[in-house]
Every structure is written in C-alpha cells, then in structure tokens.
C-alpha cells in the first residue's frame, strides 16, 4: 500500500508539472462545453436574404417588414430587378432570395391566391430546408393576420410535444457526447502515453526489476487518471448545470457510477494500447484515430446510428462510447433509473473485462 501511494504521488507530479498535459486535462472539457454550447448550434440565425420586390405595394412592404423583424434573417438588399438574384448568389453574399411578383396585393385581394418564389442555396440541404420552413411560417403568419376572413382549406394541425427537451436546445444532446469524448481522450490517450513514456525513457525496466509487482505498476499508473477523470466529469456537470442551464434530472450517484465504469473501460483500452506499442507517437495516433474517431462517429452523438448502413450499425455495438452516451442521456436528461440502463451497463462491463483480459495476457507475454 505504501509502495502504491509513493507511485501515485509520483504520477501526480508528472501530470501537474507538464503544462501541456494539464491544459488538455482541464482546459479541454471547458473549451469543448463552451464551443458546443455557444458556437456550434443547430439553429440557423441571421441568414442573409435578398428580396426582389416587383410589387412595390402595401402588402409586399408589410411582408418585407415582417421578414426583417424576425431574428432568422438579415436583409442583404431589396431590389426590383430579378437578374440581381443570380449575380448576388454568385458573389456568395446570400443564402436565400425571395421574389415577390408584381400584382402581389391584387392577386391576394381579387384572386384569393398569390405566389411567391423562394430561391435557396441547397448546397447545404439542412440549412436550406430550415430556412424554407422559417419563410413559410412568416408568410403563413402574414396571411392569417391580414386576410383572416379568407376561405380556409381543411386543415389537420398536429399537436406537438417535445419530450425531455421542450425548448429543443442542443445541450441535452451534446453534454453527454462531450463527456464521452473527453473521458475517451483523457483516459485512453493519457494512460497509454504515460505508460509508453516509461518504456521509452527506460524507467519501465527499473520498475520491473523492483519488487513492485508488474500488475501493480499498471494499476498505479492508471489510478491517478481515474481520479482526474472523475474531477473532469464533475467540472463538465457543473458547467452544464450552471452555464448551460441543463439540470441533472436523474440520480447523480448513478451518473457517477456509470461514469466510473466507462472510465475503467477507457483505462483498460489505454493499457492495451500501451502494452502493444513502444513509442509515444504511435500510442497517441492509435488513441486518436483508432479510438476517438470511432467514438465520435459511432456514439450516436453526431450522427444518428439508425440512419447508418446495417454493417456500420453492427460495428457501433462494440464502441464503448455508444453505451455510455445512451446511459448518460437516460440518467441525466430523461431521469431514468438503473432498471432502464442495466442492459447497457452489462454490455460495457463485458467489453471492459474482455479488453482487460487481453491486455493482461499481452503484458505477461512481454515479460516472459
């Protein structure tokens, strides 16, 4: 035990003296939460629009005012010449153009029907669809307010309820995702690199010749990262509660329990990498490309797994981050208890045991 403590203390010295490590360890979670929270949002705001007003009547002006009043659009220019549209699109200044034809008001009043043309930059299809929806709802609004007496077609209006996230905020989706990514990065990469560093500098040999058991060497190298990762989980949770206003609806102890499980999974992956590699660069590359990237792609955090081709859906099952992501979402956002996540938890336990088994076996082979 005393040996273990001197080892852990030494390990903390390593971490605390290396500014780069410190920054990755504590700066990265904060930066990621802030970036995802404030810079990367799915909402489309302040899109530049060109309005071609060929009508120049009272109705067209009113419609333009309503578009300008919404926070979704910012008017690039109002012109009368349709030929401007292509030119301005080519200059890359606008995402969308709205053409109000001549006789707009007359058509509305006398024919009960008027048309508008909406020209969208569909090179980014999601944004184009979103912008179309915004314009449609503004136009609908405009119609309802100005021509309430008009003949109404039969309408089915769905009553929507957005469960768990009524305001459709991004945070409930990305906070669990960022947690999975940060833990993956810190636990896998840092343990792998720190063990391989001892091999590179030759200190590993000295440790193996000492009476300190090889298995204990590995455990005491991994242990500090378990502590540091739990600190990180705490800081991410604090940020999400107090900065992003995302409350933790479920049991916080359960949340920490699954996080600890996932951290142990990641540590054993890190150990496996370190057992199989001999240089820090290789260890880092494998951790980044072989672990972080799949975690990002297959956790369901950025791309829905249901939309993937079947073989990829199968592959996603062996990615630990996927299971952790599902569990964190269930506990933190939906407020579910253990009965809802026991399946995911057991899968993660199984993955961990397999990886640990492989790394211990490999470690013994190296020693012989």
């Amino acid at each position: 035990m005393k040996q273990f403590m001197s080892f852990v203390r030494k390990e903390f010295f390593h971490v605390l003296r290396d500014r780069k490590t410190l920054f990755i360890l504590f700066g990265m979670p904060v930066v990621q939460i802030l970036i995802f929270g404030f810079a990367l949002t799915n909402e489309v705001k302040n899109s530049r629009i060109l309005i071609v007003d060929q009508a120049h009547d009272e109705s067209s002006k009113q419609l333009i005012r309503e578009i300008e009043a919404s926070q979704y659009f910012e008017t690039e220019n109002i012109v009368a010449d349709f030929n401007q549209v292509e030119k301005v699109f080519k200059e890359g200044k606008i995402r969308v153009a709205l053409v109000i034809p001549a006789n707009f008001r007359e058509d509305l009043l006398q024919n009960n029907a008027a048309s508008l043309q909406l020209i969208n930059d569909a090179s980014d299809p999601n944004t184009a669809t979103t912008l179309t929806n915004y314009i449609s709802s503004i136009v609908l609004d405009f119609q309802m307010r100005n021509f309430p007496g008009g003949p109404k077609p039969i309408q089915i209006i769905p009553q929507l309820r957005m469960l768990y996230n009524p305001q459709l905020k991004g945070a409930p989706n990305f906070v669990p995702g960022v947690m999975a990514m940060v833990l993956m990065l810190i636990c896998v990469m840092m343990t792998a690199v720190s063990i391989v560093r001892e091999k590179e500098t030759g200190t590993m040999e000295v440790l193996l010749v000492s009476p300190f058991k090889p298995l204990m060497v590995i455990i005491s190298k991994a242990f500090p990262y378990l502590i540091l990762s739990l600190i990180n989980v705490t800081s991410i949770l604090l940020l999400s509660v107090f900065v992003l206003d995302l409350p933790i609806t479920g049991n916080i102890l359960l949340l920490y329990a699954v996080s600890t499980l996932f951290i142990i999974t990641c540590l054993s992956i890190g150990i496996l990498i370190s057992v199989r590699t001999d240089s820090q660069q290789v260890a880092m590359l494998i951790s980044l490309m072989g672990m972080l990237l799949p975690a990002l792609l297959f956790s369901g955090f950025m791309f829905p797994i249901e939309n993937m081709p079947f073989p990829l859906q199968i592959i996603s099952n062996i990615i630990p981050a996927k299971w952790y992501y599902i569990m964190v979402k269930a506990i933190m956002i939906k407020g579910l208890g253990f009965s809802a996540i026991w399946k995911e938890a057991s899968i993660l336990v199984a993955i961990t045991l397999v990886i640990l088994g492989i790394s211990i076996k490999n470690f013994k082979i190296r020693l012989a």
Binding site: Q3, S6, F7, G202, E205, V206, V209, L367
Partner: protein
C-alpha cells in the same frame, strides 16, 4: 573462500531457433566487481535479464543471492539493484522526489527514507540542488545519482547495464569511485561495459561471443593468456571470431 552470490550452470535462453545465450556457466562471489563484456548482440542483455528475474531461462540453472531464477523472482528482486544503460531517473521530478519514489517502491519506511535521502544527498554533495529537477543536472551527475539510488535499499548485488555510456573520462573515474565504495561494503557489482579501460577496473571479467562465454579471468591473467598488451587487444582477438552481426 568467499560466499558465492551469483551461480549459473549452463544457463540458456532461446527465442525460437535463435540461441541468445548458450549454456553460460560462471559464479561471482560477494563483494566482487564482475565485468560482463561482449560485442553488441553477443547476448549480454539477455543473460542479465535472466539474472534479474525479468526473463525466464529456457534451460540451465541459476541462483541469485541464494534464490532460484525460475521460482523465486520476487525474492531476487528484493535483493538486487539495477541501473540501465538508458537514463533511469524521472527528469520531471526533483532529486529528492526521485530518491523518495524509488525508496518508496522498495518499501523503505518513512524514517529510513528520511535518513537515506539526507545521507545520499550529502555524499554526492548535492545539498543545494536537492529540490531542483533532475533534468537540470549534467549527465555525469545523473548517472552518479542513478547509481546511488540503485544501491539505496542495500541490495546484495547491483546490476549495471553500460552505466557510463556517453560520460566523459573524468566523471567515469568518479563513477567508479562510487562502485569501489559500494564493493568495499560487500555489495557485489555485475557490470556490462564497452569501455576497455573500465574492464581493467574490474576484479574479474568474462567476454561473451555469440552467446557463449569465451574467456573469463582477471584482466591481467587474460592479457597474459592472449599475449596481448591491453584489454582492447584481448577483446578484439575474441570478438573478431564472432559470426553474429548486430
């Protein structure tokens, strides 16, 4: 007759078809400085790893400080010190922290640690540097510190794997003063080296060629035996016959 602390009999290590160490037999007695020479790839490191309990022999027997290399590796590890050719202290830890860490994993008590670290720092004259990072020390000083750390837990045998690589002759000489001091206290020194002037400092040396020990005696007797003016020539005569390349 002095007590024997290292005793091997036909110790062999094979990797597949390759025989890295071929039936080496020798013994080293307490307090002796035993030089273990050989060209790169001759099998020195493999032999040393077996003696340290890092690698299980393929055949033959060996006992270190009375313990068997097959079954009692844990006891062996408690009774030996080790310093490798590569620098083996932590550069981002201070001198004192390194001493405390290595003392700690060898299970020294707090009281012992305190006494030992004070004594060690005093011996090396590093009082003013004790709290500085090891990376700020010149290489020669690091090697001396590294050796002192390797003998801190009072092992019966110290294994030194090319301990003075890259060190200037003057510092090398000072390093050997430390080795002599340890040997005088009864510590057995098992050292590999490429420097023939260092070979002359040893009580007895063995020269390995292609996995076998081709010669073993005191430096002066070896020179006599091979009718060579210096150890350099003895080594050259033997190593020339090597079939293995690096």
């Amino acid at each position: 007759m002095k007590e024997t602390v290292i005793q091997t009999d036909k110790l062999t290590k094979k990797f597949g078809d390759f025989i890295a160490t071929n039936a080496i037999t020798f013994s080293v007695s307490k307090g002796e400085i035993f030089g273990f020479l050989g060209a790169n790839g001759a099998g020195k490191t493999t032999a040393m790893r077996m003696l340290c309990g890092l690698s299980i022999p393929s055949s033959g027997t060996a006992s270190i400080a009375g313990f068997d290399v097959y079954t009692q590796t844990e006891e062996i590890k408690k009774n030996i010190g080790y310093m490798s050719q590569r620098f083996s202290l932590y550069e981002d830890l201070s001198i004192l922290e390194n001493i405390r860490f290595f003392g700690g994993i060898y299970g020294l008590s707090k009281q012992q640690l305190k006494e030992k670290s004070e004594m060690l720092i005093h011996q090396l004259g590093l009082e003013s540097e004790a709290k500085k990072l090891v990376s700020s020390l010149p290489l020669g000083w690091r090697q001396k510190l590294s050796f002192s750390v390797a003998v801190m837990h009072e092992p019966k045998i110290v294994f030194l794997d090319e301990p003075t690589g890259g060190v200037d002759p003057l510092t090398r000489r000072q390093f050997w003063d430390l080795i002599y001091a340890a040997a005088d206290k009864g510590v057995t020194i098992f050292v590999t080296t490429h420097y023939m002037d260092e070979a002359e400092y040893c009580d007895r040396i063995s020269i390995m060629v292609d996995g076998k020990i081709e010669a073993m005696d005191t430096p002066s007797k070896l020179k006599e035996q091979f009718a060579a003016p210096s150890m350099d020539d003895v080594f050259y005569q033997l190593a020339r016959g090597a079939k293995r390349k690096e």
